[in-house]
Amino acid sequence: MAENRTPVLKVTDLGIDFGGLTAVNDLCMEVYPEEICGLIGPNGAGKTTVFNMLTKVYQPSRGTIELCGQSTEKMSTIDVNRAGIARTFQNIRLFMNMSVLDNVKTGFHNDISYSFIESVLRLPRFAKQEKEADQKALELLKIFDLDSKADLIAGNLPYGEQRRLEIARALATNPKLLLLDEPAAGMNPQETEDLMKTIRFVRDHFKIAVLLIEHDMKLVMGICERITVLNFGMMLAQGTPEEIQSDPEVVKAYLGE
């Protein structure tokens, strides 16, 4: 099966302490190319903390993170993004005062190579690359059905559209692995349905791996190929949706005894 390929993400014995509190401990997981994986668990289980360690917002206390076989130990948040991880946030972090189009174009920052002098003097390379960025950004927005709102200010978009814009911005950085932190939060069932289709499309179209945190079990069980369950910072179970649903430990963690 997939285990023969090199994983995009390989996490070994990952742990972090905040003072005396161990938030996450002994977490092992792998995400393979073009796979959609889920990270679930009750509130406070440490799911977002895992994302923050993967993107180096927090420095892990123990364990290793490998991205395509390369250790991220010495990397900063910026390096991790350049190495291929892009993410969205549980509490939306868009550039609220910028236009929808500019939010996505900001994601192309490291793709655009014209210099400061070229942009001030408006040399040909500036015009050419800006035009390309505009086109690429519009194509991305089209996937998320936001192309007609390109000129609006991001902060004025409704909640669901802000979530989709955040995914578009993350994709603009051309990642190998996309981390989605509760992408369906605040969406109605119809919107969630559409989002599932979009996530699948993004995976197929860009050939990337997706790791998502979500509470909406319909979404998780519907699109994830493998799921990791966290409880109190410890890994509780790992497996396919069917295995997870029938795991007595998981049922206990969610529903109690």
């Binding site: 993107t55 917002v57 900063s76 948040t77 910026i78 993004n81 350049r82 892009a86 993410r87 946030f89 972090r93 868009l94 550039f95 609220m96 005062n97 910028m98 500019d102 174009k105 900001t106 994601g107 192309f108 920052h109 490291n110 655009i112 014209y114 400061f116 942009s119 001030v120 003097l121 408006r122 500036f126 800006e130 000129d151 911005r169 993350a170 603009a172 950085t173």
Partner: protein, 354 residues
Amino acid sequence: MNVIKNLFSPKKRSRTISLLIVIIAYAILQIMSSTHNISRLLMSLLVPVCAYITAAIGLNLNVGFSGELNLGQAGFMSIGAFTSVIIAGIFNANGIEGIPVLIVCIICGSIMAALIGWLISVPVLKLQGDYLAIVTLAFGQIIMSLINNLYVGLDANGLHFAFVTNNMTLAEGGRMLISGPMGATGVRTVSTLTAGAVLVIIALLIAYNLIDSKSGRAITAARDNRIAAESIGISISKTKTLAFVVSASLGGAAGALYALNYSSFVAAKFDFNSSILLLVYVVLGGLGNMSGTIISTALLVVLPEMLRFLQSYRMLIYAIVLIAIMLISNNETLKTKAEQFRNKLGASKRKGAE
């Protein structure tokens, strides 16, 4: 017709409007001065106004767009001013005069200020908010006291420098360019309103071209949401440095223009008060609003001079006017009224288009 539409498209509108303000103001002032309808006082203020506008545009990039409080902009003006005095001295000694000197001085002044801005940005931009403000304040003071103790002389053997005490003996025909607390002396004035207006326009173009580029987007992104900006691979310190250095270089260019307008001036001219005044111009004009900065700078540079007839009450009235303007421009009721008016205008325009 299409060109005009493009100039007033939402993205370009503010750029076009601020350039128009400068060009129209320049045209009116030119006509007034050629028909001798301008007071001597106002005439003498034109170049300083242009210099302060340029410095304020730079500061607005730093405070308005990058969101970092900078209380040392006058220090950068000072660097530009005294650099240009030395360079103009060398040029004049070699018999070169006029506009070419001014152009070279402005370029060198801005490069020098940018260089020093870059050097101090390394330790300074590690700080944020109040701490950054205090360090930039101290920087302005350091520059002022350094130049207050700097002696520069020029003779046939070249430049001579001395610090704290003036122990230099210049050869026959030599002269002092900068003499410590006495400041720069014997400067041949070459700055004109035209040069000032051109500099303001160049500063505006640099500012707007920067804002509307990947660097500008990165600066806004880093200000709006640090964590998100880093998560898409934007280096916060690089973008903040860029805004700081561009702001410093515009300050330097402004200082050079200012310096070559006076035959003598002292380093104390660029003190903490001037830095604060520049900040006042920017805040009053609106953070990130270039047209507003231009208008507020012009008004607030001219106003205290116009109030000279009030004698000792001058600064009191100036302060009251300042408070009144701040209160009125931040009045929510008036803001809503202005917004409604603008919407009405927009609606009637759209109707016209249909």
